[in-house]
Symmetry: C2
Subunit: 453 residues, 2 copies
């Protein structure tokens, strides 16, 4: 059995829904269909979810959301029209929106979540109706009734463990089950949404709960690429990668699937298959627990910028028990989360995301480290980028570092930091932001460029 999730662009119009239908019925294993809200039809279009957010904001400001409501109804009506769905459906959606708009606004965050969830909820009803119109047994599944319970955290709900057992009962239902993504219900029966890419999370939870053989995630790209396609022309497609590799790549800017969405599938060992709704024949990319490393040591190169480092040195620091722990405690105290801590003998650097700092906070950091740890020198270096070179094959391959660092040297990139040896599937280079693109290109060319004849 397969759980199949479709993203917003795959559901943006009647024409897209026809593709979705063809994909689902072409494989009898595709039993559970998780849907996003209708996305953009063209690049200037507005997503349904964004319309709902505007609508909620109007309501909270006690303004009339008429314009947004009309636009929302128009979006669903356009799809229903294109697919010749029965009139009653749009009335039902209208009624649903009206009831949400009139709901309790005493907790603005909760009200916002209630409205945001309308996009997926109504779309699931629409998709189920469409499938039935096509003569296929299909039903909309209400997450509340099915038992998808979550924590009461607006915009960041976490699935409750008991949900898995309850959702398992869905597997007895006949026909195709159309499940709205993005939200669940608190124990008190209130709607709460997941974080960003919440429909991916719903699909992954259902795959786990229903012990699916595969979680298919349909989006609008043919594959995950070995490097950001905006940097390299026609980069290599990744056919298969492991969860670990995906996680390391997505840390540094690969954003095909949100990390959190992978967790339930990963924990249950269910492979995830990323495919293209607009080109279902393409192989796509499979994310699996283990793979053969037959294609060289490196599977992908990614990078992310906006890091800085706090450098602390103190003569004989190395002999001082607890120095590192005290330093990290100060940062925790100041509410800062850090990424890495490369160290020398008498010095230690802490790499963190720059957006957590401002001039005042920096002064505070410098002051506390100097006075509490009696450091000889403390300084903050800005505008660093981290380059991740990822691949399961790396750990058995002597010379990968030599190739990568030589490629960087040839591209005249100075390596500010190397952090290698904890992860078995990656090596990380810290470089200046100005060198980031050149560094990624150099490493991609080293490991992926075709060998000259």
């Amino acid at each position: 059995m397969k759980v199949v999730k479709f993203g917003g662009s795959s559901l943006a119009s009647g024409k897209q829904l026809e593709k979705v239908f063809d994909i689902v019925i072409s494989d009898p294993e595709r039993k559970v269909v998780v849907v996003s809200a209708p996305g953009k039809r063209y690049s200037e279009d507005t997503k349904v979810t964004d319309l709902l957010i505007e609508c909620a904001e109007k309501c909270l400001k006690k303004e009339d959301p008429k314009e947004q409501v009309n636009a929302l109804i128009d979006r669903y009506a356009a799809i229903a029209d294109e697919l010749s769905l029965p009139e009653g459906l749009i009335n039902e959606i209208k009624k649903d929106l009206t009831s949400r708009i009139n709901a309790d606004k005493s907790k603005p965050d909760r009200f916002m979540d209630l409205l945001k969830a309308a996009g997926e909820d109504n779309n699931a009803k629409l998709v189920a109706a469409f499938f039935r119109e096509k003569g296929v047994e299909a039903s909309y599944i209400d997450p509340k009734e099915a038992g998808l319970f979550v924590t009461a955290e607006p915009g960041n709900a976490q699935v409750l463990p008991e949900s898995y057992e309850q959702l398992f009962d869905l597997h007895e239902r006949p026909g195709i089950l159309v499940f709205p993504g993005f939200f669940g219900y608190s124990k008190e029966g209130e709607v709460y949404t997941f974080s960003r890419s919440g429909s991916d999370i719903t699909g992954s939870i259902l795959a786990n709960a229903l012990k699916a053989d595969l979680y298919e995630n349909f989006t609008d790209v043919d594959a995950v690429y070995a490097v950001n396609p905006s940097l390299i022309d026609r980069p290599k497609e990744i056919k298969e990668l492991t969860f670990r590799e995906m996680r390391e790549l997505s840390y540094a800017g690969f954003s095909v699937l949100h990390d959190e969405a992978l967790v339930p599938a990963f924990r249950a060992g269910i492979p995830v298959h990323i495919k293209n709704t607009n080109n279902p024949q393409a192989h796509g990319t499979r994310i699996v627990a283990e793979r053969d490393n037959t294609n060289g040591p490196v599977i992908g190169v990614a990078s992310d910028e906006g890091f800085c480092s706090i450098y602390v040195s103190k003569y004989l620091m190395n002999r001082e028990i607890g120095f590192g722990r005290k330093l990290l405690s100060i940062l925790e105290d100041l509410g800062l989360s850090y990424e890495h801590t490369p160290s020398g003998i008498d010095d230690l650097s802490v790499i963190l995301r720059e957006n957590q700092l401002n001039a005042k906070k920096e002064a505070e950091i410098l002051h506390r480290i100097k006075t509490e740890l009696h450091a000889d020198e403390v300084k903050i270096k800005h505008s660093l980028a981290l380059i991740m070179v990822v691949g399961e094959g790396m750990r058995h391959n002597i010379g990968t570092m030599a190739r990568a660092s030589k490629a960087l040297a040839k591209a005249n990139v100075n390596i500010d930091m190397i952090n290698q040896g904890s992860s078995e599937v990656s090596m990380m280079f810290g470089v200046k932001q100005v060198d980031e693109v050149r560094a990624v290109k150099a490493i991609y060319d080293e490991f992926f460029a075709a060998v000259p004849v």
Copy 2:
């Protein structure tokens, strides 16, 4: 003005003392002479300090230390004899030893320190007498009277800050001042010794206190070498290196001068010159605050073994604020001091010295990390070596990592860890202990071997 320190082998015999005398009087700037206890004259010989330790152990066991006392007197007498020093000197030494042996033994550690200090204290008296015999104005300086005050920590005394001001007054005394190394006095007037290489510490303290222009440290090697001479035949001599470079090299096995001994000179910005008593014409090695980096990026390669790593992985660890700090707190709790913490996205390794662990402690570490941090995987890897590649020139030199890692790959050494980027003067490779020597040789050859014609 220069402070000049002579090690045990430079003071082992009358013949050696003649060399010391020639060296001191050849430069009128050499005003303060710090002496160790007489060392070995030949490889099977016993150092005076070791005889004193045996003597103290006998006393503490309430046995007769006669044999050791005789051997001690014989050592000093042989030197006095060789140099035709007056009889009275040896009687004075005999009296001093007897009074120490009869001192309070209620605190065995303190008694041990009192006896150990006798080696340097009496040798300083002997050396001063010898200089006077040669017609030079010279006096023995009593550390108590001169004001070298230390903490009451047996075998690990730390100089008290007020000592520096008091010792400064020595600069008004005429002639050559012969100062015993290795010990000072507590505020209560008790003798306490410094840690290993304590005479080097005394010299460094005096150089700082007296605002010397140079601290000369005479030993029995021509220079500090770029690599351990037992691994490479006739390795390159280092003419000049910085305090930072020396510190990084000595971390990984370079033991010419103990780190702690460098601190007072380093803090006062006083250069240290390591020279050979047996070959004073040799250039020796200068340790300075700053140097020109004209000789390539690398100044030396060192290695040390006996490390292990604790590997911890947990999916989405990266999002968990305080994970690293909590892990380090557990290790601190268990009394473990760690060296480095390379990290991936969802994993973290802690490198520590293996001799702190045993089977029981390892089980405890694994248990606590698993249960308290809910880690997915925890494992301990044994028998690692760290290779330090050191040089001030490194930070301005693109491609040093490429050269080093390529040399390792060619020597078929797998790099388990790289920690680079905090220290500006070193890069560190973790390799398996079995690969250590091969790795050091490969890197030495890359950076130091003569270019083939």
